[in-house]
Symmetry: C2
Subunit: 353 residues, 2 copies
DNA sequence: CGACAGACTTCTAGCGCTGTAAATTCTCAG
DNA sequence: CTGAGAATTTACAGCGCTAGAAGTCTGTCG
């Protein structure tokens, strides 16, 4: 069964290709009778337009690349889902090509140069290793929007949440719960990402505002961004005598690992140690105890990013715009509300765009 | 900065387009001096071949679609990662277009017809709602391989693990641990998937082999495939007096939800209730207690599926081949080894292809 | 009755690249 | 120095589709 082409339909209907094309695109200036006749031919032959041919003629593929470190990280898979929903909602007909960089600089380079091949109309990239300069140089004229708090040249658009503010809010919430020795867990042992850096800055800011101790011992790093490594790291810290009563985690993975390490040692959560995660992944509500977590507004993030990307694709060529979307501290069992009345405000803490 | 085209390079080097094309593709029959001259022109102009033009000329896009219900389900995101690694390993240069069907029939139809647009060379689909007949009718001549134990027409290739056997192994393992009231949790309340159906069949088979009670009360269904819904369902079952000492879960999500429900009620795991999940997702090792789980060999699954798909793309046109890949029961704290000596065998229980 | 809008259709170039076939150049024996 | 055959290179026709120019056919009005 060979593919049906536009020309086949045209011949079948006894009209020109352009007329068929006009019908396919619901162009004006096509008489009703003609439209019907062509449509019948389309249906009879089961014609489906070939995307490649169209792309070559129009210069658009209808594909957007979404590139990040690893789909297996729940934050990214949830983000991918959100972006794909947002793309569908705009009705622009864009589809997503997911690319993984593995969080390495080679991976990020590969993704950038592959996308230059003209397969995609634009790209959403969450970088972590590349320098701003390299991003600026490499992306060429591919419409692009950066996601997250990684490196971002001033010439390129980006969307993120205010990580420093969010970490401060999380840390102060633990202080509100009366915690005085608050640790941070989950930053990379080597090659710390800017994500970790900003969250640690916010954590320190929170401690300082409340006059709490800032100690190197209270920074628990991990080999990799997995709950498994976090469990090992927190366990090792506890075993070597590090004591804390509050834990700000770089992400929910680290938090889940921490829960495991605490459980193993019969440390009660939140009574002995209160824990706050980050990303508010789906599992956060079913861990035991359930996880309080910083919840970036990924829906807004996806929408804003797509809007900016659409403008770039339309030809907008101004300086890079840097947008901040809001976040929320979702309170659950691992670090519950501190004061019934005051809490609602904190829970909805937002930093607006 | 307008794109550099093949023709620009040809003019710059003073040769024909075809010669440039030959150099780009490292074709034989290009003299060394010519190769150098052209390469210099390519470098000077910074030429990058345009994928779309090539696709139109060759009929291949280098893109494969991987379609399943939802990236947010860890099994699928881990599968996507595995497939993308396997694709990279073959060196075929294929990239993945991820598509979500949302587990609905409309979603599956949309994915099938969208992929007909010629954007992808082939498709890996994990169907759950469509009938075999509809799959057979709709996929047209798009090379396709089905994943998983859903519907599959005899005319189309598919890869899966033996779900019935695996569920039997899991159930019998609980019996080996001395459990006598073993429940099953996690199948959909309405529109039960063939995945759930087969796992329940295997569960029943296991019970019958050991002469254990098969009761409708011991089938705990959920509204949706999320750990949250599973926690509610298991909690509700416990609260209405259903008693069990072993739990076979449709997937790790259900298992994680079950852990939560049991914890909330101070039921000890595995002493009071032993739990076995399914899929062996990354979190299985850091839940508390860690989860025993049926681990499909997704690496083999990805490899076999890609191999078959590659053959189809090459033009193979035989009858559908149905392949079985192996699985393993990974034992952790939630349902540990029963007999130190006997267990290794069971742990590596496999049903080979 | 003829000229002329206005409405609709057809024509005709490409988009960037590749495969085939034809043309050219090169090699080397005779 | 010539011609056959091999080795390279070029010409050219699309792949399937779109968009703008150009053509055709109404119906209307002077």
């Amino acid at each position: 069964m060979a593919r049906v082409r536009l020309q086949d339909v045209a011949e079948h209907a006894g009209v020109s290709m352009k007329t068929v094309s006009n019908v396919v695109h619901s162009h004006p200036n096509v008489s009703e009778s003609m439209r019907e006749r062509v449509q019948r031919a389309i249906d009879e032959l089961g014609y489906r337009p070939n995307a490649i041919g169209r792309r070559l003629a129009t210069g658009r593929t209808g594909l957007l690349a979404l590139a990040f470190a690893d789909v297996r990280l729940p934050y990214f898979s949830e983000l991918a889902n959100e972006v794909s929903k947002a793309a569908a909602a705009t009705g622009s007909g864009y589809r997503l090509l997911l690319e993984e960089t593995e969080g390495t600089i080679e991976g990020e380079r590969a993704v950038l140069s592959a996308s230059e091949a003209g397969l995609v109309d634009g790209m959403l990239l969450q970088p972590s290793q590349m320098s701003s300069r390299e991003i600026a140089e490499r992306h060429g004229d591919l419409p692009m929007v950066l996601l997250g708090e990684g490196p971002a040249p001033l010439t390129v658009d980006r969307v993120m949440i205010d990580n420093v503010a969010a970490a401060t809010v999380a840390t102060e919430h633990l202080a509100n719960l009366g915690r005085t020795r608050i640790a941070f867990v989950g930053h990379e042992k080597s090659a710390m990402s800017s994500t970790s850096r900003q969250r640690i800055m916010g954590y320190q800011e929170g401690l300082e505002r409340r006059g709490l101790p800032v100690e190197h011992d209270l920074l628990i790093d991990t080999n990799a961004i997995t709950s498994h490594d976090a469990a090992l790291a927190v366990g090792a810290a506890l075993d070597r005598g590090v004591r804390f009563d509050g834990l700000v985690c770089r992400d929910d993975l680290a938090a889940i690992g921490a829960l495991r390490a605490l459980h193993e040692r019969n440390i009660s959560i939140p009574d002995d140690v209160a824990v706050i995660g980050w990303d508010n992944i789906a599992f956060a509500s079913t861990t035991f105890p359930s996880l309080s977590s910083v919840a970036p507004n990924t829906q807004a993030l996806a929408r804003v990013a797509l809007d900016m990307l659409a403008e770039r694709i339309e030809g907008f060529d101004g300086i890079g715009r840097h947008r901040i979307v809001d976040f929320e501290l979702v309170l659950r069992e691992s670090a519950p509300a501190a004061f019934p009345t005051e809490e609602p405000d904190l829970a909805a803490a937002t930093v607006s765009a």
